[in-house]
Each structure stands twice: as structure tokens, then as C-alpha cells.
Amino acid sequence: MGNLEVPNPVWWVDSQDEAAPVPTPGGLLDGLPSSDPGSSLHLLMDPKDIATIDGLPTTVTEGARWGKPMATLPAGPDPEEYARRGEMAGRVLLSPTTPDGNTELAGPLYMAQDLLEFRKGASLDAQAYGAPPAYGNYTFGVYNAAAGISLPDALDMANTYGKFRSQYHRPDMDPKYTSIPGENVQNITRGYNDYKNGTLRRRP
């Protein structure tokens, strides 16, 4: 499906950006140099191994070397952390059995465990680290895009969770996903699209 156009979230201060984000593959590959277009070897390798192929000590989040880091990334785990978690969930979802030989329910159960970590104060709740709400919803979009979940399904998940667990009494609820504010929908979509477009922002 096509990407939706959404306005920048409130923590986005483009006026402070010195350069446009450098498009990168996103997720595990974000921050790495472009691979040989004829090779898909990088898809099967541990990113740490790729980063040391040329013998230079670097990491996948070293933005200064591979791309201009954004100056306005808020507190909380890096978007790449969420991308990694999502990619792992996606791999488990696609596996008919886990490496331990568990059934195909392992994938959804694995994802359920991650969803629980998005609860208030849990390890994937960016707000618990002092990040603004917009970033918290942005990272949920990143996670779902990395897991291979479709955007409508990701928004449905948020909406359903909101219906049962968040008693919003706001005037600005989304017209389609009526159990969450429209601002949440915009920021989830923004994170989703940034992962898909390979424009995740990185820490300096």
C-alpha cells in the first residue's frame, strides 16, 4: 500500500537540521554503507560482522561516519532499537517453528510479549525514558513496520488496545481509529513510513 502523508510530529524541529536525512536501508541495515547491489550476503550476516568487514571499528549506530545524524532525536531508546525488536518479531512470525521446535504460535506469542513491553513504564515505553508522547507513538510505528505488519493492522492494534485500556476523553480523536487521538495515528504512521523509506533518524 502507498505511504500516507503525515505532518511532522511535534518533537520534529527541522529548522535545526543541518542537512536532509540520508536515505538508508533502514532497520538492521540503517547506518551501514550500501552493500554490493549484486549481493544479498548482508541480509544473512550479523550487522556487527558487516561493520567490521573493512577492519574499521564502528557500529551500526555511528551516524557521524555513515550519515548526518539528526540533532533533534529525543530521549529514549534509538529508533533502531525498535527496528531490531520488530525485525526479530517478524522473523519469528515467519518461522513455521522456532529454533527450539515450538509451534507456530510462538510468533504471535513473541509479539504479544513485545506489545506488553509498550505498556506504560515498561521497557519499550519511550515516555518512561523522558521522551515526548509523539516519539513514543513514532517508535510503535517503527516496530510494526520492521515486523512486517501492515500499517492498517498496526493502527487497528493501537485502536483496539485504546478501546479497552485507554479511557481517552479527548476532542481530537481520530475519525477512523476512534479510540485513539488523531495525533497518535499520525505519529505511528510517520514512524512506519520512515522505516519503510529507510529514513529512520539516528543518534549522533
Partner: protein
């Protein structure tokens, strides 16, 4: 071949998310995934009214939110709140609001930093309410 994330087809995506969400909601149980993380009260000089400010933080997948509400109540009847101001707050690191009663009939609310005004009453129960913004 290691399967790549991002290749989930729609049917699998839908089934997986529904199942995962059902498990998540079952484990999480009922109740609101939000909490008041800051609160302040200020009585009017004559002691008849009290202004109560709350900052409520929402959590959960795709639920992040931070809202400040200012309510009025008669002293001793704090269960019957009248909402007079609602703000969508940009960041928890910022200070929130100050409550001040210049007179018995006038509540002055000052908020700091970035916030979007969702609701603002200028008069309620014979009291004037003014809202001031103090940028950081």
C-alpha cells in the same frame, strides 16, 4: 534461507496481530493504562473553591499521550469536578502549570512550554478563568 521481516502477507499479519493483541490484553487485564504523574491544588482566598491540576500520562502500544487538565470543585466536594482547561502537553520534562487566585472570583492558570489548548473555559460557576502562556 532466512526469512526476511517485511515479507509477512496480509493474512498472516492480520492473524498474528489479532492473536498477539488478544494475548496482550488478556495478560494486561482490565483498567486504564494511564496514570496521574503530577498534581497540584490551590484554594481560593475565601476557601470556597479549589482548583486542581493533573497531568495524566497514557501508555501502551500506540497510546502514548500526555495531557494536563485543570478542574474546579467546591471545597469538600472534590469528587464533582468541573473541567475548565485541557492541554495537550509536548513533553514531560517541561514544567506544567501554576494555579493562582488573584481574587475570590478569578482563577489564573499559567502554563509553561509547548502545549496545545484542547479546551478552555473563560467562566464557570460565577468564576472567571484566565489562561496565560509562559514560553520556556
Amino acid at each position: 534461507m532466512v526469512p526476511c521481516a517485511g515479507d509477512l502477507n496480509n493474512r498472516l499479519s492480520r492473524w498474528a496481530t489479532l492473536f498477539a493483541l488478544a494475548v496482550c490484553l488478556t495478560v494486561a487485564g482490565c483498567g486504564d493504562d494511564s496514570a496521574v504523574i503530577w498534581t497540584a491544588k490551590e484554594k481560593s482566598p475565601d476557601g470556597l473553591w479549589v482548583a486542581i491540576a493533573n497531568v495524566r500520562q497514557y501508555g501502551g502500544p500506540g497510546q502514548a499521550g500526555l495531557y494536563t487538565e485543570v478542574n474546579l470543585a467546591r471545597v469538600g466536594e472534590e469528587k464533582h469536578l468541573m473541567q475548565v482547561i485541557s492541554l495537550n502537553v509536548g513533553s514531560v520534562r517541561e514544567p506544567h502549570v501554576d494555579l493562582h487566585w488573584p481574587t475570590n472570583k478569578h482563577l489564573e492558570v499559567t502554563y509553561y512550554g509547548d502545549a496545545k489548548i484542547d479546551f478552555q473555559a473563560v467562566r464557570s460557576s460565577g468564576l472567571d478563568i484566565s489562561l496565560r502562556h509562559w514560553p520556556n
